[in-house]
C-alpha cells in the first residue's frame, strides 16, 4: 500500500505542478514578469499540502497513515520526557491494574459461567442460600433424596435433574499405598450429576446413574484434577486405586477435567461420591430413604423451549403432591397451612449456586470497584493536566501547523492518538499489574480454613473490560486538552512569538482538574476512615466469650470409625481429662461449634407457657462440662454442667441471657422446663444455668438466643475441641497433639489454631475493604499531591516576572510565600467544599457495610480534611518556596 501511495503522490504532484506552470505561462503571455506569474499562479492554486492531504483523505489512506505517524510521534514525545512519562504510565497502570484486578475477582465470583454444557439452561430449586441439614416442613431451600427421586421421575420440564449435597464433608481418608490419612473434601452427588452437567472424565469415567441405585452398593469416587495433581502426585495409574474412609474402601473411577470445580464457586471439592454412599461418609447421615432429611440442592436442566416460569409452575404442583406423600412428615393443620403457602422459586444458575464466597465478598468487592474507579479518575485528571501542559508548550507548533493548513480535526486527532498510545501502554502495563494484584487479592481474601479458590485466569470479559477502561481513560484525559490546545487564534499565537503565549487558557481548566482531584481524594480518604473505624468497632465487639488464650481444632472421630455412642463420649471425656492434665492448660472441652461455624436450630416449646409454641430461633450447641471455662463465658445464674449430669440423670440445659429473657420473662428461669419440636417435648430440659450471650456467626450479628446441652446426656459427633491455656500457643498445640495421639492415633486433627484466628477469619472481607480502601486513599492523596505540585510549579513559573516585580517593589519573602500558598489553599478548600457532600453521600451508600457507624462520622471526615489540607500545603510549599527565593534581577531579565 505504501508503494501505491508513493506512486499516487508522484502522480498528484506532477498533475498539480503542470497546472501551476501552465497558469504561470498564461500570466507571462499576458505580460507579467516570471516572478509575478509564479506567485499569482501559486496564490490561485491554494495550499498545496492541504490539498494533498484532502486527496489522501479521499482515498481513505490518511486514517491508518496518520495513526502510525501520530503514534510514532507520541512515543517520541514520551521518550523525550521520561520522568513525566513514567509518572503518567505508573499512575495509569496502577489505576487500570487495580480496576482490572477487582473486576477479575467480581467476574470470577459473580459472572463467570460454569465450565459446563449450556450453563444458561441450569436452574436451582430454591435460592441456594441455605446449606446444612434440616427437618423443616415444608422446606423450599433444601430437599431430601426421596423428594429428588420423585421430582426427577415425575416432572415434565427438565431434560434431567441432579442432586448435590448442600455442603462439603471435610473428612480424613487413606489413599492406597500411602500410610498417612489425609484431609479430603467430599461432595456427595446423585448419579445424574455429571451427565446433567455434560462433564466428561479427563481420565476413567464419571459417576453414573448405576452408581446411585442401591444404597451402600457403589463405593466409587471421582477425584478432582487439582487433587489428582497434588495429593496423588499426578499418578498415571490413578484409576482403580483404592481409598479408605472410615471403614469403607472406595475405588477411584475417574478424574474430572481441569476446569471443573463443582457447582458452587469457590468450593472445589477433592472427591465426588454418589449419594447412595451417604451413610458411609462422615457425618454418616442416614438420608437416602428419609423424606425428612433435607440436605440437598436440586439442579434441573430446562428442556429446550421450556421457560423458567413454565418449569416453576410444574415444579410447584409436584412439590405440593410429593411433600404430602412423605410418610414421616409432621402433617398437622399448622404445617399444612404453611405448605399451602410455600412456593419453590427456580433460580437460574449459569454462574453456579450461591456460595459462601459470593455472599461474603460480593458487597466488599463492589465497594472496592467503586473506590478504584475514583482512583482512576484522579489519575486521569493528573494525566489530563500533563497533556494540557504539553499541548500548551506546543501551542506555537500547533499554531504554525494550523497556519500551514492543517485541519483542526487533524490536530485534535493527533493529540488524541498520542493520548491513546499513552493509555494503551498504561493499559498493557495495567493488565500485567492486575495479574499480580488479583493473585495478591486472592491471598488477602483467603483465610486459614477458607481458601478463596476462584478462577482468576484471563478471560474475555476481563480483557474487554480493560480495553474499554483504557479507551475511556484516553478519551477522559485526552479530549479536553486536545480540544483546548487547538482552539487558538493562530495570528495571536504566532505574533506572541516564543513567550508563554496562548497559555492563559491553561489556568482555569487545570485548576478545575486539581479541585476535582482534591474532592475525589477526600471521598476516598474519608471512605478509608469509615471502613477502618468500622473494622475497629467490630474487633472491639464483646463476643461474650474471652477470645485470648484459647486453642481450638477439629477432631475427626467419625473418619476414625467412631459411632455416635457411649464409646465416642468416652473418648471425648478421656481427651478432655488428659489434655487438662497438661501443665499450663486451664480447661478443655469438646463442642459442636465455637464461632463462625454455623449452628442448628429448632422450634421451642415451653412448659407452662399458655401459647406453648414460641416462634424463636434458638441456636443450639452440645458441649462438654468444661466448655464455659474453656471459652471464658461468664455464668450469670445457676450452675454449669458437672459430673452429676449423666446419661441417666434428668436432662439439663444452660441458656443464654437473651433466651432467658424471651422465654421466661417473669421470675427466675432456673428450674423451668422447655423442649424442641413438639408440644409433648415441652418438659424435656430443665434450665440449670444462665450464661452471657455469645456471638455465633459473625461479630456484627445482634444478640442471639442460644442454649447448651451436655454431651454426657446425648452424644453426637462433636468436631470442635477448645483448650484454654497459659503461655505459648505453639507449645500448647504440640502438647495437645501428642496427648490426643497417645489416646487414639487414628483421630485426625485439622484446622488447628487459636480462637483469635477464627475471629480474624470472620473479618476477612471487612479487613480486605479496610486495607485496600486505605491503600487507595493514600494512592489518591499521592496522585493529588503530584497534581497540585505540577500545577503550582507551572503557575509559579508563569508568574516569575510578576513576582520579580513585586519583590523589586519591596515585597518580603513571607508575603510571596503566602501569595502562592493562598492560591493552593483556596483550591484545596474549594475541593474540600465539593468533596464533603460527596463523601457524605458515599457514606450513606455504604452504611449497610459498616458497623457501629451510620455513614460518614465526624472523626473520619475531620481526619480526611486534615490529611488533604496537609497534603495540599506540603505539595504547594515547594513551588511556593521557590517563588519566594526568586531573584528579582534574574526574574525581570527572564522576560
Amino acid at each position: 500500500m505504501l508503494l501505491r501511495r508513493r506512486h499516487f503522490d508522484a502522480d498528484l504532484e506532477e498533475e498539480m505542478r503542470l497546472h501551476v506552470e501552465l497558469r504561470g505561462q498564461q500570466q507571462i503571455d499576458a505580460g507579467a514578469s516570471a516572478e509575478e506569474a509564479r506567485y499569482a499562479a501559486l496564490r490561485h492554486f491554494g495550499n498545496v499540502s492541504s490539498l494533498r492531504e484532502r486527496s489522501h483523505i479521499a482515498w481513505g489512506w490518511s486514517w491508518l497513515e496518520n495513526l502510525v505517524q501520530d503514534a510514532g510521534y507520541g512515543i517520541r514525545w514520551m521518550l523525550r520526557s521520561p520522568g513525566v512519562t513514567l509518572v503518567a504510565l505508573l499512575s495509569l497502570a496502577l489505576g487500570i491494574g487495580a480496576n482490572t484486578a477487582i473486576f477479575t475477582l467480581l467476574n470470577a465470583i459473580l459472572m463467570r459461567p460454569l465450565p459446563v454444557e449450556h450453563p444458561s439452561q441450569l436452574v436451582l430449586l430454591g435460592d441456594g442460600l441455605d446449606d446444612g441439614i434440616s427437618d423443616g416442613f415444608p422446606n423450599t431451600g433444601l430437599y431430601s433424596y426421596p423428594f429428588f427421586r420423585q421430582i426427577r421421575a415425575r416432572n415434565d420440564v427438565f431434560s434431567d435433574t441432579a442432586a448435590a449435597f448442600s455442603f462439603i464433608d471435610n473428612v480424613h481418608g487413606t489413599v492406597q499405598g500411602r500410610g498417612e490419612a489425609e484431609p479430603m473434601k467430599i461432595q456427595l452427588v446423585s448419579g445424574s450429576y455429571f451427565p446433567l452437567l455434560g462433564i466428561d472424565a479427563a481420565a476413567g469415567r464419571t459417576l453414573q446413574d448405576d452408581d446411585d441405585r442401591i444404597e451402600g452398593q457403589s463405593p466409587v469416587a471421582m477425584v478432582s484434577y487439582a487433587w489428582w495433581k497434588t495429593a496423588l502426585a499426578a499418578d498415571p495409574a490413578v484409576i482403580g486405586k483404592r481409598l479408605t474412609i472410615g471403614s469403607t474402601v472406595f475405588t477411584i473411577v475417574g478424574v474430572t477435567p481441569p476446569s471443573f470445580f463443582g457447582t458452587r464457586v469457590g468450593e472445589l471439592p477433592d472427591l465426588w461420591i454418589p449419594l447412595s454412599m451417604e451413610k458411609y461418609i462422615p457425618p454418616r447421615l442416614d438420608g437416602y430413604n428419609d423424606g425428612m432429611s433435607e440436605s440437598l440442592n436440586l439442579i434441573g436442566r430446562l428442556k429446550p423451549g421450556v421457560s423458567r416460569e413454565q418449569a416453576e409452575s410444574n415444579v410447584n404442583v409436584l412439590f405440593q403432591q410429593i411433600l404430602r406423600g412423605i410418610p414421616n412428615a409432621p402433617v398437622n393443620s399448622g404445617t399444612i397451612a404453611k405448605l399451602n403457602k410455600a412456593h419453590v422459586e427456580l433460580t437460574p444458575i449459569p454462574g453456579g449456586i450461591a456460595s459462601r464466597i459470593r455472599w461474603f465478598f460480593q458487597t466488599p468487592l463492589e465497594v472496592l470497584m467503586a473506590l478504584v474507579g475514583l482512583v482512576l479518575l484522579i489519575a486521569c485528571a493528573n494525566i489530563a493536566n500533563l497533556m494540557l501542559a504539553r499541548a500548551t508548550a506546543r501551542s506555537r507548533e500547533l499554531a504554525v501547523r494550523q497556519a500551514l493548513g492543517a485541519g483542526r480535526s487533524r490536530l485534535i486527532r493527533q493529540l488524541l492518538t498520542e493520548s491513546l498510545v499513552l493509555a494503551l501502554l498504561g493499559g498493557g502495563l495495567g493488565l500485567g499489574f492486575a495479574a499480580l494484584a488479583s493473585r495478591l487479592l486472592v491471598r488477602m481474601a483467603s483465610s486459614a480454613d477458607n481458601a478463596f479458590q476462584v478462577n482468576i485466569s484471563l478471560s474475555l470479559p476481563v480483557l474487554l473490560f480493560t480495553l474499554a477502561l483504557t479507551l475511556a481513560t484516553a478519551i477522559l484525559f485526552g479530549t479536553i486538552p486536545a480540544w483546548r490546545a487547538t482552539r487558538v487564534d493562530v495570528s495571536v499565537a504566532l505574533a506572541a512569538g516564543r513567550t508563554q503565549s496562548g497559555t492563559a487558557s491553561k489556568g482555569p481548566l487545570a485548576k478545575t482538574l486539581v479541585i476535582l482531584q482534591v474532592a475525589l481524594s477526600l471521598v476516598l480518604v474519608a471512605g478509608a476512615g469509615i471502613f477502618l473505624r468500622s473494622l475497629i468497632n467490630l474487633v472491639n465487639v464483646d463476643t461474650g466469650f474471652h477470645r485470648d488464650n484459647v486453642v481450638r481444632m477439629r477432631v475427626d472421630a467419625s473418619s476414625a470409625g467412631y459411632k455416635e455412642d457411649a464409646r465416642l463420649a468416652g473418648v471425648y471425656r478421656q481427651i478432655e481429662d488428659r489434655v487438662k492434665a497438661i501443665p499450663g492448660v486451664r480447661a478443655a472441652s469438646f463442642s459442636i461449634f465455637t464461632f463462625n461455624e454455623g449452628t442448628w436450630n429448632n422450634d421451642i416449646w415451653v412448659q407452662g407457657y399458655a401459647a406453648g409454641h414460641r416462634e424463636i430461633d434458638v441456636l443450639h450447641n452440645d458441649v462438654g462440662n468444661d466448655y464455659f471455662r474453656a471459652m471464658g463465658i461468664p455464668l450469670l445464674a445457676g450452675r454449669t454442667f458437672g459430673p452429676q449430669d449423666t446419661a441417666t440423670s434428668p436432662r439439663v440445659a444452660v441458656i443464654g441471657e437473651t433466651m432467658a429473657r424471651k422465654l421466661f420473662p417473669e421470675g427466675s428461669p432456673i428450674g423451668r422446663h422447655y423442649g424442641y419440636q413438639k408440644a409433648v417435648n415441652a418438659g424435656s430440659f430443665e434450665v440449670i444455668g444462665v450464661v452471657k450471650d455469645v456471638k455465633y456467626f459473625s461479630l456484627d450479628e445482634p444478640q442471639q438466643c442460644g442454649d447448651y446441652l451436655p454431651y454426657s446426656q446425648n452424644i453426637r459427633y462433636l468436631n470442635e475441641f477448645e483448650v484454654r491455656y497459659t503461655g505459648d500457643a505453639g507449645a500448647a498445640i504440640t502438647a495437645i497433639r501428642r496427648t490426643i495421639g497417645t489416646i487414639d492415633e487414628n483421630l485426625h486433627l485439622s484446622d488447628v489454631g487459636t480462637l483469635n484466628q477464627k475471629i480474624d477469619d470472620s473479618l476477612t472481607n471487612r479487613r480486605l475493604v479496610a486495607q485496600l480502601s486505605t491503600f487507595f486513599g493514600l494512592l489518591a492523596v499521592f496522585l493529588a499531591a503530584i497534581g497540585i505540585y505540577g500545577l503550582m510549579s507551572y503557575l509559579v513559573n508563569r508568574r516569575t516576572s510578576e513576582i520579580g516585580v513585586r519583590m523589586a517593589l519591596g515585597a518580603e519573602r513571607p508575603q510571596v510565600l503566602w501569595l502562592v500558598m493562598r492560591e493552593i489553599l483556596l483550591l484545596a478548600l474549594i475541593g474540600l467544599a465539593i468533596g464533603i457532600p460527596l463523601a457524605l453521600a458515599g457514606g450513606r451508600l455504604v452504611s449497610s457495610s459498616l458497623y457501629g457507624l451510620n455513614g460518614i462520622d465526624a472523626v473520619s471526615l475531620g481526619a480526611a480534611v486534615a490529611v488533604l489540607l496537609a497534603m495540599a500545603a506540603l505539595a504547594g510549599y515547594l513551588p511556593a518556596r521557590r517563588a519566594s527565593r526568586i531573584d528579582p534581577m534574574i526574574a525581570l531579565r527572564h522576560e
Partner: protein, 109 residues
Amino acid sequence: MSRDEIPPGTLYLLILKTLARYGEMHGFEIANSIQQHSEDVLQVEEGSLYPALQRMLIKGWVKAEWGTTAGNRRARYYRLTPGGRKQLEVEQTQFERVFGAIVRVIQPA
C-alpha cells in the same frame, strides 16, 4: 478584478458538465474552461479541483489516463464514465430545483 467563489456543492456539477461538453481534459483545462464559460465570474480555487477529481475517481464518475499535451507535457486526462453521465443528470436536476426555488423566493411577487 472581483471574482465570485463558486456556490458550495456545485464543483462536481461544473466538472461533470465541462467533461460532458469537451470529452477529455486535464485538470488545468477543466479549470480554464469553467472560468471562461462563466465569463470570468466563477473562480474555482484551482487546487481544490484535484481532491474533487480524486473523489470522483473513487466514486467512478470519471476515468483518468495519462497522455501528452499539445506542448508535449505529460498530463492526466479525465473522461466521463456512464456513471458520471448519470450523476451529471442527477446533479443538474437537483441544482435546477434548488436554484429555481431560490429565484422564486427572491423575485418580487
